[in-house]
Symmetry: D2
Subunit: 414 residues, 4 copies
């Protein structure tokens, strides 16, 4: 799965790989089959664990066949029925009854998304810890605050870390909330559940229609909601929240890329044997993690926009092309986000902070950096001739503590 053209991709393991999507399709069909049996629609003999009936070795053939039907569920179902038939013909008859291919693919992608969200939240948690520690440790370490590329007023590195943390907390809050309400998509051919209702009626079952859906949802650990074939908020919310995370990381990476430049030298990535070299310049130590994180931050917005565009172009009871754009966008955005999240955790855990160099910039630039302070002094007829950092440290410390308190509160409620 890791590809030559997106270095670091192996950090996303098998999330949203074709094999993982295929396994998720089987989990959905298994859960639904189980729900049909529980509801008394399908006979008890139809109960069947489907996992393993289609394997990664089938992916290539199914991918080739997917074009004819426009999605991979139809050939997967054909092969599944073929393999079920000899071992459990009743299950072969009942599998997928009441569903449509979009139900199965959407719900499978939701399962992949939920696993992705958990991975990302776990990296965000790790970053909260790392940043909390950086913010606390460096709360009194002065450095130049820079605005519009120029020196502004002194800040502390602790404050910078706390503000990085703020972005990470924003992303964690939203991703946690989104990941808790990820829904199944179980609507049948046109979102009516009519086939399932028909099955209930013909089978003489007394089960309620929505209990079939909620039973399958329970098995999968997802929320039970009306079908959203053409209301794509579950996917756009998820995507927007991932991009909030890559936004937060991109901003951190941008700062590291800047502050690690030889002329600034205030931050550095951890030195890892073999990392950051050049094909021709032996001395180079490139900030590779930050470069690759920035890459993800620059591509996230476009991928989320693609999902919104799919939502905006939806029509009928199932759309004619926009739905098809979602699958690879979800997979890419998810994998890129997991990779960047893992890289950001590693970056922060190993970040080198040169407080001496930071301090010397403030010292050498006091005159310019204190211009604001002097102009304030003028209001009270005092003179800020020497730099007295106590008010700065008190002020930035208060901001840091506010953000650290939020981080702790989030930890407790997780």
């Amino acid at each position: 799965m890791p590809g030559l053209l997106w270095p670091g991709d192996e950090r996303a393991d098998r999330l949203f790989s074709d094999a993982t999507v295929l396994a998720a399709l089987l989990r959905v069909e298994t859960a639904w089959l189980q729900a049909l049996v529980t509801a008394g629609i399908a006979p008890a003999g139809a109960r069947q664990e489907l996992t393993g009936l289609l394997t990664p070795r089938d992916v290539h053939a199914l991918a080739l066949q997917g074009e004819a039907s426009g999605n991979p569920v139809i050939p997967a179902l054909g092969l599944l029925r073929e393999r079920l038939e000899p071992r459990n013909p009743v299950a072969a008859t009942w599998v997928h009854r009441g569903l449509t291919s979009q139900d199965v693919l959407d719900t499978a992608l939701v399962l992949c998304a939920r696993d992705t969200a958990r991975r990302v939240v776990s990296d965000l948690d790790r970053q909260v810890a790392a940043l909390g520690s950086l913010a606390d440790r460096h709360r009194d370490d002065l450095m130049a605050g820079r605005t519009l590329t120029q020196h502004a007023v002194p800040i502390t590195f602790g404050l910078k870390a706390a503000q990085w943390l703020q972005g990470v907390l924003d992303a964690r809050d939203d991703l946690r909330r989104v990941s808790r309400r990820m829904p199944v998509q179980l609507g049948g051919a046109a979102g009516t559940l009519a086939a399932t209702a028909e099955l209930l009626a013909l089978s003489g079952s007394t089960a309620a229609l929505d209990s079939v859906v909620s039973d399958a949802a329970r098995i999968l650990g997802l929320a039970s909601v009306p079908s959203w074939h053409t209301s794509r908020a579950p996917f756009t919310r998820y995507a927007d929240t991932l991009v909030q995370a890559t936004d937060a990381w991109g901003r951190i990476a941008n700062d590291v890329l800047l502050l690690n430049r030889p002329e600034l030298g205030e931050l550095a990535e951890d030195t890892v044997e073999g990392r950051g070299g050049s094909s021709t310049m032996p001395q180079k130590a490139n900030p590779v993690l930050s470069v690759l994180i920035r890459r993800a931050a620059l591509t996230g917005p476009g991928l989320a926009a693609q999902l919104h565009l799919a939502a905006a172009a939806a029509v009928d009871e199932r759309p004619d092309g926009s739905w098809h754009t979602e699958w690879s966008a979800l997979a890419e955005l998810s994998r890129h986000t997991v990779t960047a999240g893992s890289q950001t955790s590693e970056l922060l855990d190993g970040l080198h902070v040169d407080t001496g160099r930071m301090a010397s910039v403030v010292k050498n630039r006091t005159s310019a950096l204190l211009a604001e302070q002097r102009s304030i002094g003028g209001l009270f007829d005092t003179q800020a001739t020497d730099f007295d950092p106590s008010h700065y440290l008190g002020a930035t410390g208060a901001v840091i503590d506010q953000i650290l308190a939020r981080a702790r509160a989030g930890q407790e409620h997780s």
Copy 2:
């Protein structure tokens, strides 16, 4: 403000107009000045309502001067001080003390965004009512369900309306939540609040630093949070949620555009004298509202992506260009969303539903539309020779009721 090239723009009134932004800048400076006085930093005589000191007549000159400083706050402040000086020189001395231009512009844009959000929520409320009524009224009106452009199975128009409603409810939920926690931006030159701390110390005030911020926030009706100069989630969340709304409306407009075609004729926009004509074809009645709503849906995702890109490109304590891309993106996305929201409300309130034509399609196409039902009947050795809609209506009715219940619950908690 309404422009030739975005017809319908006047529906957004003065939201995010230059004059409105300028007035919001003054509200922020007034609130801060008040908070300085309350904290005992500035003398009581500095209390001053600034509203009206800069007026729409100043916009042109300020816009011209904005380039030199890169943002409109600096010239606005210059002119404000000039006009304050003769009438309240104390206020002229104290206005803006402790703030930076980004504080004022960000908070002013947040004020505009909150007003926008309220307008959009009020249109979403109106649409919830209209759609709830359509869903309920047409719960038994069969029509063809269409997937991938082809007839699939019967649905009801009530179900279609309920699913439109689902998208509207998703947007309303998120926009309500986002609009309730819109924060001030009050951080000072580099987000440290150091100048305010300095002012507190020199003035001998015993007020707490964060009470100054929270006081200003209270006056403005916004949340008090640490500064987010380079953590842009407040703006990206707002933008993402507006796009959730345009996504939901786009999907409705797409359905109307399709179903109003002469060959389908199942839906029509209300006839309004003078609307929908052609410059050369006297017979034309173009579905103008839907066309213009679709326009907004196609442009929303790109504008929100622009805001995410700004977030992802942030660097330093205030960024070198990405911040500057946000202002017009926020204004455009906001105005376009308000316009589309108002158009969607009008579209839904006046929507013509030709249930006879819907029914005749189902009747004439029964054979194809019931193919799924027949295949299910085969499972139980029954024959679905005649179309019995009872199970369809029961199933779709249950889905409709689930969505209507959600709409009611949302109404109660608003």
Copy 3:
């Protein structure tokens, strides 16, 4: 027209302003009326210059009326006929005959685009001169080459300027070509020219159908091509080429923003009284031009993508919403590009180059910067103990000359 939220916008003068678009609509109608007379369709008395019949004072009312018809041409035409009637009733009868509103609006926007392209080309020309001079003047001024944020090998500032120039030349080549073949849009209601054919037949004229179109095109100075109501390459090509320009300028601005940082200090924007100040920090001198140029570079790609999306979503003989997204996207992208182009010209004309500081970095870092050279020396058993810049200068000089030659060749063929 200049707005608070896009500082610098006044550099685009009246290009694509509502008043300019309205005037362009009249130019198109005038040219067509003239062509109808020339072809013998309309009587000689219908010849009428329409300029001035609608004025900037009409914009507001027309903008308000535009929603009902979905575009501004229809109300403009109504008002035009109303005003023509008393002064030339024959012209009032014949104006617009054979056209559709999209013809008029598209062609008017093409006229605006052509004027924009000329302005941008003229700025590109100015930049070619400035960059050619910088490249030549600094061909021997060594500075650190930087890759992936780290020092790589020495380059010269002349080479950097030459490579900036290369991007500018790429943009100029493409924009010149695109601007030379900008076409009219004259197709009638559905691109058939059928109404014009009918008019020709009924009037007994012997003129050829395509001569009417090419006559109008000639008057407007545009190319005569079949109608492209739903084949939007003329607009996407134009937009892509503008973005090539903002890409080239963004890259220059990024370099200036970096190299003007206090820690690097190799480049600086020209000092202009009152420019680059802060609302609170008296010492600040922000690189405002570069910040605003970078802003345009970050927003161009999204606007061009919007135009491509409109092209990709086209349907029927005239589309149902995607066309409507183009107008403001064209106007914004055009104005932003003109503004950024003018700012880039000014930036380059006044750029301060600190060759001493550049040289000292190379001198101080020789060891690291020459690591590649030493590794090459090893191949020949030589030692590059002292830095001999002669080969660097020869090599970079050759690259510079190649690019300068291309600039000169372009100048000759313009």
Copy 4:
């Protein structure tokens, strides 16, 4: 390579696959090694064909190693040298001398892009033929022209095909031009070619510096231009042109998707055994090709915008993240375009045109469709009581012939 989540992907064969990119890297290194020998820099014994030294079996390991260096060239080069060493130690010493990893990766991607462009041009050629034939065959087959979803005036299907053709010709013109001037990227560590100059000097060669580059370019069949490490027009132009193609195809697909709806039924995709089925509705025949083409059209603009953003964010002599976003964007856009191009060719070759149904719409709607004609008749005191299509056919025929002539001219000059 074909993936579950982008059905039809196998149509792109191995274009831009990891194995293909790896092979292209070797072609670049081979050509450069050859040029070094020819220039007298490297000894004759260094001449070595490198093809096959790295194989698809190496891709996985190289992908894993790519993260440490941030790009795949560095580990590929390490493995290459390791394998060369025992078989040609001189070549192992000389391979890659003078280059940097970006040179090799950029040029390799250009080679892949050129192969892609050829494939796309060949599909465009096939479509020109198919559309020319459709336009010609159906020049007199009347159908309803539709604008803004409503019936407008009659057109012919030949005209619609000709206007589809116009978009295809626009794309072909531009892609041909772009594909003819695809350049090598051979600049060395910072675009100076300094290492190569050093090698020339130390080796005592009398070859000119630019002859080394142009020799390598000649071997690869690419243009020789100064390095463009941070001037990305070669890639943005390529991407823009591919999107012009997907725009043109998207518009065709949109029309087919509409006109194949059961209520319209004027066009249909060819029936292919097993294609277009549903997982639950036996009767469904979904227009799968058009759906998948539309998918590509909706995603192209975002991918090209990503490449422009990379160009706009370039900085230094090699950028810190934006370059890294280009690789997968190029690969995806290329593969998607090839797939969609092949699908469009197949769609057009097999398109079913129901001229009877088209004619009956015109017949039944004559009254509305002729409203424009009647209004024209009024000008001459004539009555268009019966529909006389002769002027329509003459007019549309003239437009068709104009477009067909352009297609023929393009054919001759290809």
